[in-house]
């Protein structure tokens, strides 16, 4: 009975399951991030349109995201869409939608400020050379924006990874949920399982997030000028 406890991690396919759970976590975060970046760019451009109504709507959207707990959004999308809109989304889809909703707002705001931080004369010299609006955006503004955004985008990604533990509530089995399953399955045989499993999960989050936040820091330095 009084064994080391750590072997809970190596029983059966437990460690593989944890990694699979982590992959679910990362997958949700990555897919959401891709959508967030695309939509965030559009949103950022829209937010810079000098129109009071558009500004107001965007502001409301940002405040909603800022204030609404992610859990509420998850419930709304997962159960709400089924009940009120008749859309039966899978847990992972719902999670991606919610994380995209959140990420788009954050990216949008970042893109907006990145866009205004690009000196006006960059636009001017583009136009001055005879490039049209789209060419200026495509060749000059967007590439510069992306460089500025990369660090904060990577940062957002790690925050998403860390927030995914909430999605267990809508039936998605991610790393933390797997951890709980393992702990519970060995509840009677291995009372210290919690310590080891949570320790492992802690470590797994760390080894995934750490390279990302390092990367973000490196990018930040690289693009400093």
């Amino acid at each position: 009975m009084q064994n080391m406890g750590i072997e809970v991690l190596f029983k059966g396919i437990n460690s593989l399951r944890l990694w699979q759970g982590l992959w679910v976590t990362i997958r949700i975060a990555l897919i959401s991030m891709v959508f967030s970046i695309i939509l965030g760019f559009l949103l950022g451009m829209v937010m810079n349109i000098p129109n009071k109504i558009i500004k107001f709507i965007c502001r409301i959207y940002l405040e909603i995201v800022r204030i609404m707990p992610q859990l509420v959004l998850l419930f709304l999308v997962y159960f709400g869409a089924a009940k009120h809109l008749g859309m039966n989304l899978s847990g992972e889809t719902a999670a991606v939608i919610v994380f995209t909703f959140w990420g788009t707002a954050e990216m949008g705001d970042l893109v907006r400020s990145a866009l205004i931080s690009i000196p006006k004369h960059q636009y001017d010299s583009g136009y001055g050379l005879g490039l049209n609006k789209w060419q200026v955006y495509l060749y000059i503004i967007l590439p510069q924006t992306i460089r500025r955004l990369l660090p904060s985008a990577v940062n957002l990604l790690t925050r998403m990874i860390k927030t995914t533990s909430l999605v267990a509530l809508i039936g998605v089995v991610e790393v933390l949920k797997v951890g709980k399953q393992i702990i519970d399955a060995s509840r009677y045989t291995n009372p210290t399982a919690a310590l080891w499993v949570y320790g492992a999960v802690f470590f797994m989050y760390f080894i995934i997030c750490f390279p990302f936040s390092r990367l973000s820091r490196v990018l930040e330095k690289k693009f400093a000028d």
């Binding site: 405040e63 800022r66 609404m68 707990p69 709304l76 159960f79 989050y205 760390f206 997030c209 936040s213």
Partner: protein
């Protein structure tokens, strides 16, 4: 929606909101203190301490608060340290927030132009005078936007406190859903409660940010 139910449960939410806010305020304040101390250690490049601070920042920023709490609450007793729920929650929030605040303040410090320090020095001010009169105030106001964003982030992070049996807003909500299955009502009240707490804070923050920016940098 069952408004009778909402009315009945409101006192519960008020209690929970008070608790949430109470924990958040203490946590955020302590986080600021930790953040200041850590960023100073980094700024002045104090050996050994600096490496410890770096490790702490990486650990805290790259792991979820929930897991950090599990560790404090369920892990520490295994080596004989039993912290109460409140102590764990505040320690956890401070542990997490401290690193965020430290980063915010560090970039605030980094963004004080060297010329500011030099011109203060050339006015005959001593190093400590330069730090307290020039670097510190400018760094603080540089980092106010980040402080605000962090404060809101930390308040929202309190929602994982329910994991250590603290009856915060999220706890009450999940509990009501679990007991009465009034999902819509419980979530509705949760949103309202967060709205009442966060909206004013959000507004105060943008006001402060604008004030600071006005006094500081134009154009």
């Amino acid at each position: 929606m069952d408004f009778e139910f909402i009315r009945e449960q409101t006192p519960l939410y008020i209690e929970a909101a008070k608790l949430t806010l109470h924990m958040a305020v203490i946590g955020v304040l302590l986080a600021i203190v930790v953040g200041l101390v850590c960023s100073m250690i980094k700024y002045f490049r104090i050996p050994v301490l600096r490496q410890i601070v770096e490790c702490y920042i990486e650990l805290s920023r790259n792991t979820p608060l929930l897991i950090q709490l599990f560790f404090l609450y369920f892990g520490l007793p295994k080596i004989g340290i039993v912290l109460s729920s409140e102590q764990c929650a505040i320690t956890g929030l401070t542990f997490l927030g401290g690193s965020y605040m430290a980063e915010a303040f560090r970039s605030g410090l980094d963004n004080v132009p060297p010329i500011q320090v030099e011109s203060a020095l050339s006015l005959g001010m001593s190093k400590s005078q330069v730090f307290t009169n020039i670097i510190l105030p400018q760094a603080v106001s540089n980092s106010i936007p980040a402080f605000c964003a962090n404060a809101i982030f930390l308040i929202k992070e309190t929602s994982v406190f329910s994991a250590v049996a603290l009856a915060d807003l999220m706890f009450v909500t999940k509990d009501l859903i679990g007991i009465y299955y009034k999902t819509d009502e419980a979530l509705f009240m949760l949103v309202i409660a967060y709205l009442i707490i966060l909206l004013p804070i959000s507004l105060i923050c943008s006001f402060v940010e604008r004030r600071v920016r006005y006094a500081e940098y134009g154009d």
